[in-house]
Amino acid sequence: MSLDIKTSVVESRRQTYANVARRQGADRPASRYDEATYDMQPTVNFHYRPTWDPGYLLYDPSRTAIRMDDWYALRDPRQLYYATYTIARARMMEAEEKNFDFVQKRGLLESVDDAWVDKLRRYMLPLRHYEWGANMNNTAITDLGYGTAITQAASFAAMDRLGIAQILSRVGLLIDGNSGDTLKGAKEAWLNDEMWQGVRKMVEDSFVLRDWFELFVAQNFAMDGVVYPLIYDHCDAQEARHGGGALSMLNEFMIDWFADHCRWVDAVLKVAAAESAENRELISGWASAWAGRAMQAFRPIAAFALEAGAEDAMAAIQAALKKRANSIGLEI
């Protein structure tokens, strides 16, 4: 049986905004993602050129060599807008907090082999600076990118990276009992440890890239595509063998996050590459160059953390990245 509550009906005159209706081809109800995303960015009749870069308009599609007939084709398959983004991340963080509590209350870190903890300080904690670099790069994409579809997702990614840098910092503080010594050591390693210099140089070189889409490929596809499987998959598996199951729990946020991140990155690259042969060639070129560099840069980290297993792990990472590239229409 159904209850039938009587309400007065007021006919609506339209279902969605005109700009959304034009894109849908009809005036029918639209999702909140569409209403919050489509055509949010101004496109024409800018009043002044940026004093900081007068060669371009304030929002300028020619800031990248990639050409899109419609920049709003680069949709986020997760359909994240601000509300759904913060709600999704708050949920993930709630689970992560529980893991931190669990590890802390039971003193689980004490059961990890001391040698492995020392190792972790060197191969994992310096990544907080890598994440900060990723924050900068995604903020740069938000700044210079074209069309709200990609720039809003980049701004969420930027904040994610700050969040991850802070989670890594907390792992360090858990190890050093909040003295901050681990973080000082990690920064020292990032700045001066030979093993990290290839990564740091790569990150610093990415800071000065002029083409924001190349930056997107370099950071979100290539560099992340190497370091995430290396640290949160291969090293994570090693950790378990050294009594580090507790640490693995603390990696949960990053593991879930990377899966989510790849959905977005792959969707964007697939659509952009499918747009034209020129786009495909450019993206494939960038992906090859930066993936090659990232493999090279992270090799010493892998060797340090995985020792004899490093070669196999890097080969597996390379094969997986190549497979991922092929599945979205790229050649690397």
């Binding site: 007065s8 007021v10 609506s12 005159r13 339209r14 969605t16 905004y17 005109a18 700009n19 209403e35 919050a36 055509d39 949010m40 101004p42 496109t43 024409v44 009749n45 800018f46 009043h47 002044y48 940026p50 004093t51 900081w52 304030l58 929002y59 601000y82 509300a83 913060t86 709600i87 708050a90 963080m93 870190l109 004490e110 903890v117 600076h129 994440e131 924050n135 903020t139 938000t142 700044d143 709200t148 701004s155 969420f156 930027a158 700050l162 969040g163 802070q166 910092s169 503080l173 858990l174 009992g177 909040n178 003295s179 901050g180 920064k187 990032w190 740091r200 610093e204 800071f207 000065v208």
Partner: protein, 508 residues
């Protein structure tokens, strides 16, 4: 070394510093000036970026938690507003025109702020200010998106809400807010923060955001007012950033003071001119009024702003130039602005009307020196013409101020019956201004302002759809006979009256 068994207690400030402030580093493979190319060319000198105080010390875990809780509550209200036909609960459908102006004029600025703060959030070399800007950047995206969602319901029932970005990029009066924000975004990052975080958010926000949100509360618009309440805690953070950036610049180097003072002068005047739209909204567009523009100006700028500038005087900062002109204009700009829109209502995406007898009485009481003498006779004349079937329209295009882009309808500071004209010559061309404030801004950076996309010039140059008014309105995507013209006789008014009478029938 091994795992510490005892954990030291961390205060909020220490915890934040450990988790956040150490993240940045001096780059060496690329020079810092190449990585951060934009934070020196304005002439602001920073000797110690670490002296930046983070007033909120918000880490991302807390940010996600607080913000998601706010979003859940806000969307519950927006959903229930839609489900219960909340638009039927407003005072009168004339009110809706205030939020049409908000959606087309202000919401796009929230979006621009999102991108502008991303620019600053990438380009300052200090970690503290960069993170503050990044958080504000996504907060601003929040505001733009929640406004679009809250007003989506109104768009279903009323005209004028349907094409905000298209209109914002083209329609003549929307070039006033658009050029304001383009001006800030095309400036360097320090000027951007002075313009938006300080002058706008800190000094003037009580005159922009608060009147719209209070107007919503007074007029039964629960969706908008809930958004307003929900955004309040973000705004508090943004205002604090505004004050912090000013103090930071002033404390870092004495040489920064004259630069900051000039920006404060410029952005006070730029913001004040933009607020003419809010002034007319407060005095004319709210069926149930909150307070007059003059009262708001006295309370929020003269008293609160006065105390602020007194506090800043220890840095050698004085109140912004031409604040005394704003004081002289406070009993006229709302009337002058509404007069302009009444003249050009055929070319606007919201409705205008003449104030009724009760409203005129309110205006007389609020503006005893000017209303009965100058503006009431004007409205009576226009009412008479309308009754005779000769509703007054201004059918020529107005001259615009090159800086603020408002039609030249404001009057001399010391004579409210004479239109104020100023002009400057630059490279053999003459440029026109509504005020000394706007002329000064142009004269300091003429190369910037000669680029202005002035809607009237653009129409005359044939860049706006054609030479006929109807063609220009089509190009604007203004639905003629629905979005524009008087409220009386509009589809909005006819439908509203029908909904109200249906309700009465249902109740009896």
């Amino acid at each position: 070394m091994s795992v510490a068994t005892k954990a030291r207690k961390l205060g909020l400030k220490q915890r934040y510093a450990l988790m956040t402030r150490g993240l940045g580093w001096e780059t060496t493979y690329q020079p810092m000036d190449t990585v951060f190319p934009y934070d020196t060319y304005e002439g602001i000198k920073i000797h110690d970026w670490d002296a930046w105080e983070d007033p909120f010390r918000l880490t991302m875990d807390a940010y996600w938690k607080y913000q998601s809780e706010k979003e859940r509550k806000l969307y519950a209200v927006i959903d229930s507003f839609a489900q219960n036909n909340g638009h039927l609960g407003i005072t009168d459908a004339r009110y809706v025109n205030a939020i049409k102006l908000f959606l087309t004029g202000v919401s796009p600025l929230e979006y621009q702020a999102h991108r502008g703060f991303a620019h600053a959030g990438r380009h300052f070399r200090g970690v503290g200010p960069r993170i503050a800007c990044q958080m504000q950047s996504i907060d601003e995206l929040r505001h733009a998106q929640t406004q679009v969602h809250a007003m989506s319901h109104y768009n279903k029932y009323f005209d004028g809400f349907h094409d905000k970005t298209h209109m914002h990029d083209r329609v003549w009066y929307l070039s006033v807010p658009k050029s304001f924000f383009d001006d800030a975004m095309t400036a360097g990052p320090f000027e951007f923060l002075t313009a938006i975080s300080f002058s706008f958010e800190y000094v003037l926000t009580n005159l922009l955001f608060v009147p719209f949100m209070s107007g919503a509360a007074y007029n039964g618009d629960m969706a908008t007012v809930t958004f307003g309440f929900s955004a309040q805690s973000d705004e508090a953070r943004h205002m604090t950033l505004g004050l912090e950036v000013i103090k930071f610049m002033l404390e870092q180097d004495e040489g920064n003071t004259p630069i900051v003072q000039r920006w404060m002068d410029k952005w006070f005047w730029r913001g004040y001119r933009l607020l003419a739209l809010v002034a007319m909204m407060m005095d004319y567009m709210l069926p149930k009024r909150i307070m007059s523009w003059q009262e708001a100006w006295e309370m929020y700028f003269e008293e609160a702003g006065g105390a602020l500038f007194e506090d800043l005087s220890r840095y050698g900062i004085r109140p912004p130039k031409y604040h005394e002109v704003a004081a002289k204009e406070k009993d006229r700009i709302s009337h002058e602005a509404w007069g302009i829109f009444y003249n050009y209502t055929h070319a606007a995406a919201f409705h205008t009307w003449l104030p009724n007898e009760d409203e005129m009485a309110w205006l007389s009481a609020k503006y005893p020196k000017t209303f009965d003498k100058i503006y009431r006779p004007r409205y009576e004349q226009w009412a008479k013409m309308k009754a005779e079937g000769k509703r007054f329209y201004n059918n020529t295009l107005p001259q615009l101020c090159t800086t603020c882009q408002i039609p030249m309808g404001f009057t001399e500071p010391d004579d409210p019956t004479t239109i104020c004209f100023r002009s400057s010559e630059y490279r053999g061309e003459r440029y026109h201004f509504c005020s000394d404030g706007c002329k000064d801004i142009f004269d300091y950076e003429p190369e910037k302002y000669i680029q202005s996309w002035l809607p009237v010039h653009q129409i005359y140059q044939g860049n706006c759809g054609g030479a006929e008014l109807g063609q220009v309105l089509d190009w604007y995507h203004i639905n003629q006979g629905a979005d524009n013209l008087d409220y009386d006789g509009s589809p909005d008014q006819q439908l509203w009256d029908k909904w109200m009478s249906d309700r009465k029938k249902a109740a009896s």
